[in-house]
């Protein structure tokens, strides 16, 4: 997994609550057996007309935001389906950080497996960053995962919380499975004990 430590980039504003994973990557793109190549279909139905031409007022089609690497979004981002195709598409587009007041549980976990940092901020701070991101390509936002800060284009600094283990994995690009394999003794012991206490399982 790609490491994440600091990021300085253009933030695209998506001031809409409940952006669900069907919006992020519609079902017809889930028929792939690969993880790559989904960026072109990120937000497909909001981004393209039926004939495949771009919908010009969609934020990621606007010249200022075509190279955005941060999204600032409305409440409850990533709700709905568990499809990891959503973070795959986001990362493949080049977005490495999403800022909102809240995230759906499964999507939030999925981000960390794909080198994306989801940041939860209080409403007023998210709103301030939303305003900031509306300024376009000249307003860069900076993220520092080690310090757990977001710095707006005017220099305002916001602190965010992140689980220490998830932070460690993201900073070092660690593979979860490899880490768990190191604890295989505990799993073996659990399985052996469960076999006698709950043999029907």
């Amino acid at each position: 997994m790609e490491k994440f430590d600091t990021l300085s980039g253009i933030a695209a504003p998506m001031d809409l609550v409940n952006i669900d994973t069907d919006m992020i990557i519609p079902k017809q793109f889930l028929k792939t057996i690969k993880r790559s190549g989904l960026g072109v279909n990120l937000f497909d139905e909001m981004r393209y007309n039926l004939d495949g031409s771009e919908i010009s007022d969609f934020v990621l089609n606007q010249p200022a935001y075509r190279d955005a690497s941060i999204l600032v979004a409305g409440d409850n981002f990533g709700c709905g389906s568990s499809r990891e195709h959503a973070p795959w598409a986001i990362a493949d587009f080049g977005i490495r950080c999403v800022i909102s007041t809240s995230f759906a549980d499964i999507f939030y976990s999925n981000c960390f497996k794909n080198g994306i940092l989801p940041i939860v901020l209080p409403e007023d701070q998210r709103d301030a960053l939303m305003k900031d991101s509306e300024k376009g390509a000249n307003a860069r936002i900076e993220i520092d995962l080690v310090a757990q800060t977001v710095t707006g284009s005017d220099g305002e600094i916001y602190h965010f919380e992140v689980d220490a283990f998830k932070k460690h994995c993201l900073l070092n690009g660690l593979d979860d499975i490899g880490l768990t394999m190191e604890k295989v003794g505990s799993i073996d012991a659990f399985e052996a004990a469960a076999l006698s206490s709950r043999p029907w399982v």
Binding site: L30, I33, S81, R83, S109, N110, K113, F165
Partner: protein, 468 residues
């Protein structure tokens, strides 16, 4: 010992390793796998030379992509990319030695219907699947939730998940449901109250007289949509209804093992005075037959209501409500019963079980669907289909003018050919009314099976109580 909730008990019984910061390895008893969210996970195993740690606890069934038309044995009914996914599951299931129900097996169906039906899902278990509606299995008092594909790979390789414990939330539904009001209305009413993020960070335990009175089918409907309220999982403590459902299922324990299991299952309830971080109480008598008007499952109203004014909302919901009304092609103040539909879909992991079909058939018996309406019933499994045929329910649907399909996810998420065209409007018994969910530009109103049947007859959203 301090009192524990049901969730506390199941959690504690599955911690294989706990780090100082509370990060745990949670042991997984059942891993359900389908064709859409698993190919990359199996590919990951191959690339790293890993294997499936517990194939005997891993159950695979194709459901999302499969056609539900009677001619689906003909390979041409599936698009190339769908066939590749189903073929990949076939290969992976064989190669890694998983329990497998292929498309040709009468037991095939929606993974969340097959699991309970075959007795894979039992009280007190941990159950995961790369699908958010895994919450369904919580109806048995098992801790069940959806995971992403990276976690699918993690569970395949290690039979554990890296987890931190959620908080406890209690949702109590007191009293008795009125006629025409069902489990679907309960779960939609709760989401209408909490909002789609109200459950975020929590595991919900549903309790109270109205929940206790539900069949297992109804309880599965309630827990299924816990995820639409943002909860990690929904739970219902097992009782005699649960035990009766499980007994004799192919993979349920038998004989002495059954007795031992039963003794354990009877300890699975929240202790008196157990602490819940959040409590919501609703009266069953206050719940009417419900419909969604917008594009979020929280956009719930009684069928007797009218399309709301976006100005009546606050914050970010004002803009969202206007967007929903525009997308759905509705007018503020329009009576919900004046909304005309052109499609009815009865099925899905929410409402694709026998009891759902009985409820719809009771309304449809001796009646015809509205002229020109497209109506489809998609059984949750081949066994549900067979039972409905045996009970004469299938014939009621067919006589009324419904298409009687084979099992699959179908129009719930429209990955197979069962889709809405732009602008088409559907009364659906599924779980999500998101923009484009049932097809780009398609408009979805979520309802119970009885309400879907009523809408099929009149061609508009209808109060089922008027037809009873």
């Amino acid at each position: 010992m301090s009192p524990k909730t049901l969730y506390d008990k199941i959690w504690d019984a599955h911690v294989a390793h706990a780090a100082d910061d509370g990060t745990c390895l949670l042991y997984i008893d059942r891993h359900l796998v389908h064709e859409v969210t698993s190919p990359q996970a199996f590919e990951g195993l191959r690339m790293t030379g890993r294997t499936v740690r517990a194939p005997d606890k891993t159950i695979a069934v194709p459901d999302h992509n499969v056609p539900t038309t009677l001619d689906r044995a003909n390979a041409a009914t599936m698009t190339e990319d769908s066939r590749i996914q189903v073929d990949a599951l076939d290969t992976n299931a064989k190669e890694f030695g998983l329990h497998y129900y292929p498309v040709t097996d009468v037991r095939q169906g929606v993974v969340h219907i097959v699991g309970p039906e075959q007795g894979w899902t039992l009280p007190g278990m941990t159950v995961v699947c790369g699908d958010s509606h895994t919450a369904t299995h919580g109806a048995f008092g098992s801790l069940a939730h959806g995971i992403g594909t990276s976690e699918v790979e993690h569970v395949l390789a290690t039979q554990t998940l890296i987890q931190k414990k959620s908080k406890n939330m209690k949702v109590e539904i007191t009293g008795k449901l009125a006629p025409g009001v069902t489990a679907k209305d309960i779960t939609m009413a709760v989401i209408g109250k909490t909002g789609t993020a109200g459950g975020t960070g929590y595991v919900i335990e549903y309790c109270g007289e109205a929940i206790r009175s539900l069949s297992m089918e109804g309880r599965m409907t309630v827990c299924n949509m816990a995820i639409e309220g943002g909860a990690r999982a929904g739970l219902i403590a097992p009782d005699q209804t649960t035990f009766d459902y499980c007994m004799g299922r192919p993979h349920a324990p038998k004989g002495a093992a059954w007795e031992a299991a039963l003794t354990y299952w009877k300890t699975l309830f929240s202790d008196d005075d157990a602490h819940f971080d959040k409590v919501l109480t609703m009266r069953a008598e206050d719940i009417a037959p419900l419909v969604t008007w917008g594009t979020s499952p929280e956009d719930v109203l009684a069928i007797t209501d009218v399309v709301p004014d976006p100005a009546s909302f606050t914050g970010g919901k004002v803009g969202a409500a206007q967007r929903s009304i525009d997308y759905m092609g509705l007018t503020v103040g329009q009576k919900l019963t004046d909304i005309e539909i052109d499609t009815v879909f009865i099925g899905s992991c929410t409402n694709g079980r026998i009891e759902d079909f009985r409820a719809a058939a009771a309304i449809l018996k001796g009646k015809k669907i509205k002229d020109g309406l497209r109506a489809m019933v998609v059984p949750g499994s081949g066994l549900v289909r067979a039972q409905a045929e045996e009970e004469g329910i299938a014939q009621i649907f067919i006589d009324a003018g419904f298409e009687w399909r084979l099992a699959g996810c179908s129009m719930c998420l429209a990955m197979n050919p069962d889709q809405l065209a732009p602008g088409e409007r559907c009364a659906a018994t599924s779980n999500r009314n998101f923009e484009g969910r049932q097809g780009r530009g398609g408009r979805t109103h979520l309802v119970s099976p009885a309400m879907a049947a009523a809408a099929a007859i009149t061609g508009r959203l209808t109060d089922v109580r008027d037809l009873m």
